[in-house]
Each structure stands twice: as structure tokens, then as C-alpha cells.
Symmetry: C2
Amino acid sequence: MIDEHESGYFTEANSAEVVVARNRNAKDERLKEVMEVITRKLHEAVKEIEPTQEEWFGAIMFLTQTGQICNEWRQEYILLSDVLGVSMLVDAINNRKPSGASESTVLGPFHVADAPELPMGSNICLDQKGEPMFVHGRILDTEGNPIAGAKIDVWQANDEGFYDVQQKGIQPDFNLRGVFRTGADGRYWFHGVKPKYYPIPDDGPVGKLLGALGRHPNRPAHLHYIVEAEGFDALTTHIFDPDDPYIDSDAVFGVKRSLLAEFRKVEDAEAAAKVEVAAPFYDVEFDFVLSRKGGN
Amino acid sequence: MIDEHESGYFTEANSAEVVVARNRNAKDERLKEVMEVITRKLHEAVKEIEPTQEEWFGAIMFLTQTGQICNEWRQEYILLSDVLGVSMLVDAINNRKPSGASESTVLGPFHVADAPELPMGSNICLDQKGEPMFVHGRILDTEGNPIAGAKIDVWQANDEGFYDVQQKGIQPDFNLRGVFRTGADGRYWFHGVKPKYYPIPDDGPVGKLLGALGRHPNRPAHLHYIVEAEGFDALTTHIFDPDDPYIDSDAVFGVKRSLLAEFRKVEDAEAAAKVEVAAPFYDVEFDFVLSRKGGN
């Protein structure tokens, strides 16, 4: 530790050490530890970048504007965290799974807590818009055994890339949302519509940054899931359409190889009748594997 | 570079590389370089901290609130930069001086561009409040030669720790500000009042952070200077009172050893009469040494 009185006034060389030493009386050990890492990495970054005063002020203004566009409906700092891969990194750190368990991805801003519980096989598409999709699979433990009584909370954007909560009055309430519960065989199945890619809000500072970085704001088509069962870790994840034009460039880095589903187009009328839709429809089969609580 | 299609979906291990690779088509090489450093250091920090989702969201809210308190008169992100030592680091990087030249420190938010040019020896204290101070010294080059025609722009807080612009209607306009120009001997001298320490604004998120870190918000008593002369690098700096209670804990890390002046109390009436004040007064002698433009 630097004794500031003896040797520790600020210099370019000892900058981080002086700042860290100043926080020695922090009221909370965790805060002290977090601020030490932030200070060290921040000073390392500044020393590597060597910003001009103008560049530094540009950064100040970017951070200010990113805060100022936030409101009850818009969280630009989460978007910034998303496009820098930080949201996914925090998700990964907090959801390390044992081998064989399904991987997590980000929750996103469009989950609603009170979606209706529906009979297995229901159609979550309430407005009959879009290409029919039949989604099915199993909830399993890491040994491959079915999990009975698992709760599957699913939500998705419509065929134009909007969630119901983004189009109140246009889409019915709770459109493309549903909660299902597995029986003894661990199986789930329901009807929806083929989702479409959509942009994150890109009319603010983060959208401008994406533009300057030569990046698009789109997220490839996906379905959201929270799968829960007693005795197992909850799983918050997506499944993705591997044929989406943005599958390799999700603006928020949410895609993982293990989360690519197959959206198989079925033209056969007989196969369609079996699952009570008209051909053509998309068949999506995906099993979710939950890790046991406290397991590894 | 990671080919995302072949191997580069996001994982905890390769998180920074995937994000950096995504910025490969940035429209500006400098922006690309800056974002690469920021991304790497940010991911290193997150991996070292391993924030919980709640901690991550706390950080998001802190950054949001720091932006939202900013207005025409309040720049909380500059304060954040200040208390993390980043403002001083950027200042240091942009003002590396040859050996023997006076060191710089931060400009601060209270400089005004149109302070009046005054005859050498003027009293910049327009309201006669506070303890008299006589400030004098020389403007020199690094060989010790006087610099003629140097412009000295000085400003200071009053004996209660407030600048004129913070107390419009209470202090006279341009109180404790003045611009002076040296003659052939490079000497400067003027009258002011002994300055006092003062807090940076601490009623916002940055003040709360300082409190949680067990830190006070005070800056030790100082005078601000911008010294300019043709053919020399401009010098933005302070001189500090080494007897100030906060001299070893400036909230913004502005103090450098070489910027400690002596505020010598003079009780002698004869000495006071010589500089046209009443005893007791504070005598402050300080030479500023400018570096030659393009020199080293």
C-alpha cells in the first residue's frame, strides 16, 4: 500500500495504485474489491489508449447521453452492456452448467411474469398471423431421464419481429406467450408462428456506436424459454433458427452453438394433420436438459 | 481473427475475442482500436469480479443515474472520471513535460474565458472578504531565463470555498480572477485572499460512491493557473497550500509534490507595507517553468 503522505501523490506511473489506496476505508469489502479491479483495468485501458482530451470528452458525452435517453421503457445501458458482450459474459459466469446440460443465454427485456398457464398443445399465437410452427421436445435430466412437472415459460416475437408488449393494441395481450407443464414423460408441445429477426432499439447512442462500428442492430429469430423444475437449476435460454440471415452476427452475442434448433419446413398434409395444422408448417424439435441443484 | 461461423459463437472463454472480431468493419481505425482495448479490459474486469446478476444491475443503475443527474451546470461523469483518477491520468498523458518544467494538473469546471486583463499588482479580490494574500514569482524557461510577455490567467475560490460563478449575486462578477502579463524580468505579482478547501458536488451518485468508499469530497485549497507564452507549451495547473487538512487526500487526485507552494504568514507591518497590504497577510512565492514548444 502506498503511503500518500510519504511517497504517494499522483503520477502517471502510479496512478491506479494511488486511487486504489484511497479506497482503503471502504465500508464494504466487496465494494472495495470491485472498485480495485475497475480502477486497475480502467487505468490500464487509458494508458493503452492514450486518449486526447477531445477523445476523453467524447467518451464523457457518450456515457452522459447513454444515461439521459433511459426512461421507464428504455434501458440504453443494458443495450450497451449487450452490444459489448458484457450481458452474455455475466450470464455465462452466473450459469456455468455441467457437461450435457442445456446452455443459458440472456433473458432480454420482454419477459412478462404473469403469462397464462395453458393446456399442453395450445396455440400461443392468438391473432393467426404468420407461418404456423409446431414446437415439441422433452425436458430431461443430465442422465436422459424425463422430468415430470417441469414448467416451461415460452415467449417469442411475431412474424414481423415484435413482441406483444411492443405492440399493445395491435397484438392481443399475451400473444405468443404461454406456460406449460410436463407430464410423466417429460414431453412438451405447442403451436406458435415462425419468429423473425428484429433490431434492438438503434435510435440512441448505442445504435450510433453500432453504426460507427459497421455493425447491424439485429437479433436472429429465436424463441425464449425459462424452464424450471423442482430440484433443478432454472434455465433461461433461447433456441435459434440457424437459417436466419443474422445467425452469425447477433447484435447481443446471444447465440450459442448448442442452442441452434432446426426449423424444418413440412409440406406433407398428412404430417400436418397429425399435429392439427395445415401444411406447410415448421416443425421444431428441441430437448432441454436441466442440471440438478447443487450438482456439477 | 475468429471466424464466427466456423468456431466463434460466444463462450465465457472467448468472449472478448468474439466481440472484438465483430467490430472488424468499423468505419474508423482509431475507433476500432479504442473499442478493442475497452472491450478487452472490460471483459478482463468482469471475469475478475464475477459479478452476480444483481451486482451487474446495480452497476447499470449507477451508470444510468450518473447520466441522468447531468445538466447544463452539472457534469457527473466528469466527477466520476475525477474521483477515479482518470481525469488526472488523461491530463498526465497529454502533458508530459521535460525535466525541470512545471507540472500540469486538471483544468476543473470553473475557468471562464473572458476574465479581465489587469495591471500587474492588482487585487483580484473585489469584495474585501478573507485573509489577504500576496502572490508573486517568475515565469521562466527550463534554462532559468525569464519569459517576457507571458500571460498568466489565475482564478481561485474565496475564503468560504466558492468561485464567483457558483455565487452569482453574492460575489461580484469576476471576483478572484485576473489575467496578467509579464514584463522583461518575467515577474508576476498580485493580491488575492487565502483560498479554502471545498467539496466537489456530492449530492449525486458520485458523492454516494465516495461515501461508500469512506472518502470525503474535498479538494485542498489551491489557486488555478493557465500560463501561456509564445513558443512555449501552455501550462494548466494549480498551486496548493501544503497545510490544508486535505492536502494528502484531494478527492480528484490533483495534487503533485512539485505544486506545493508555501503560504507563509507574515505578521511584520513593515513587510506588509512594502507590498501594500495590512499585516498579517500570506506571502506565496511560486515560479512557473514553461517547456519550449516541440522541445523535450
